[in-house]
Amino acid sequence: MSAHARPPVSDEPGPEAVSPLLRLYPAVWRERYGDELADLLANRPLSLRDAVDLVRGAWDANCNLSDLMGGWSAMTSRLRSTAVTTFTAWVVFCVAVGGLSKTTEEPAFGHAALGHPGLGVSYAVVQGAFVVALLAVLVGGLPLAYVALRQAWRRRDAAVGRLFLVPVLAAASVAAYVLVAKRATDLTSPGVHSGLNIAIFVGLVTVGGAATVGTVVAIRVAAHRTELPLELLRLAGWAAAIAAGAISMGVVALTGYGWALSTDDPALFHSANGMLATPLPASLLAILAIGFVAAGTADRAAVRGLRVLRGGSDQPQEALG
């Protein structure tokens, strides 16, 4: 009989009827094998011998869980770590890209990019890398988020639902702060180095930082409270590798942009277009440092994930060692 052969339909008790016996197995074991075993039981008569065998199997699974699940749980744990760390790196990369957009918002930068291909191309590569990383994070992360929310709903685990609200509230808080700050500056037109302007900037950094840290912590906690399926973690592992590649490319392009600006338009490079009208090189260096932190974090996570993905199927023990 092939793997695709359909078992006969049975009138015997279904998975619901045998679920008390399945509940004797550890939760992590059920997460991995529960559906298959329930399906098998739904398609064969549940004899007393089978019931006794299930009780023995459950006893064995509880006593030898690490022996039974060692490779699988280590693999899911590492891929989960890869996914969460890559998400963290992507958020940090967003901060760097946002910083670059803010510091280069003056029309002079657009004109310089038009006149110097090196500047225009490197800036476009940063933006392209941001889009690719965003898509990879969405492809890898949205299915996991869906599973986590569905699982939370089934388990009546409101805490996970609240954790997923944190990124939404964080984004709303930053957007609200920006709107209020813009309204305040439009009304008062404060000087660049005025107390109000500095306070608004410090407030933005504080709100943005809190939103970033809150988002990352909430997603990390939610991921660790959820039993995520290996197939989706594998998908997330590949997506993490793509995101890491895009982030690294973006940081290289960011470096190229700074270098091209310094050589193609030294006056603009040394202008006071940095944060709060400070010298631009200092702001660019800070953005670059944030970018390198993001790339280093993403690359390390991707390498860990790829080791599991490439070696995990046939030789899990070696892959996990």
């Binding site: 793997a3 089978d50 006794v52 039974l68 490779g71 046939d314």
Partner: protein, 106 residues
């Protein structure tokens, strides 16, 4: 030692050998494995024994899970699993040949 791989599985070593033999033909899910073993081995594996052995074989890298088809998931033999099965069967073959020779029926 490859041939001794299954000996550490205790009461699951015989079911594991049957499962590896069943999967040596083609990938199968749990229900198909039990029916195949019943057909070629005349043994009916209980569901707890089947999944106790499957999880051990998977954690040791002797079999691997394929993508699930609805609620059932096929398994296939890994290259390591094929080596272990071959070594085990060679050992049984040698054992059987020796026994039969001593009985004078070989």
């Amino acid at each position: 030692m490859v041939g001794a791989e299954l000996e550490g599985l205790g009461r699951f070593s015989d079911p594991s050998l049957l499962i590896l033999s069943s999967l040596s033909a083609e990938p199968k899910h749990g229900y198909a494995i039990t029916k195949d073993i019943e057909a070629f081995g005349g043994v009916s594996l209980g569901p707890g024994t089947l999944y106790g052995a499957l999880s051990r074989l998977e954690s040791r890298g002797l079999i691997e899970a394929l993508p699930a088809e609805e609620r059932r998931r096929p398994y296939r033999l890994t290259s390591r699993g094929a080596q272990v099965l071959a070594a085990q069967l060679r050992g049984l073959q040698s054992f059987a040949a020796t026994g039969l020779a001593r009985l004078g029926t070989a």
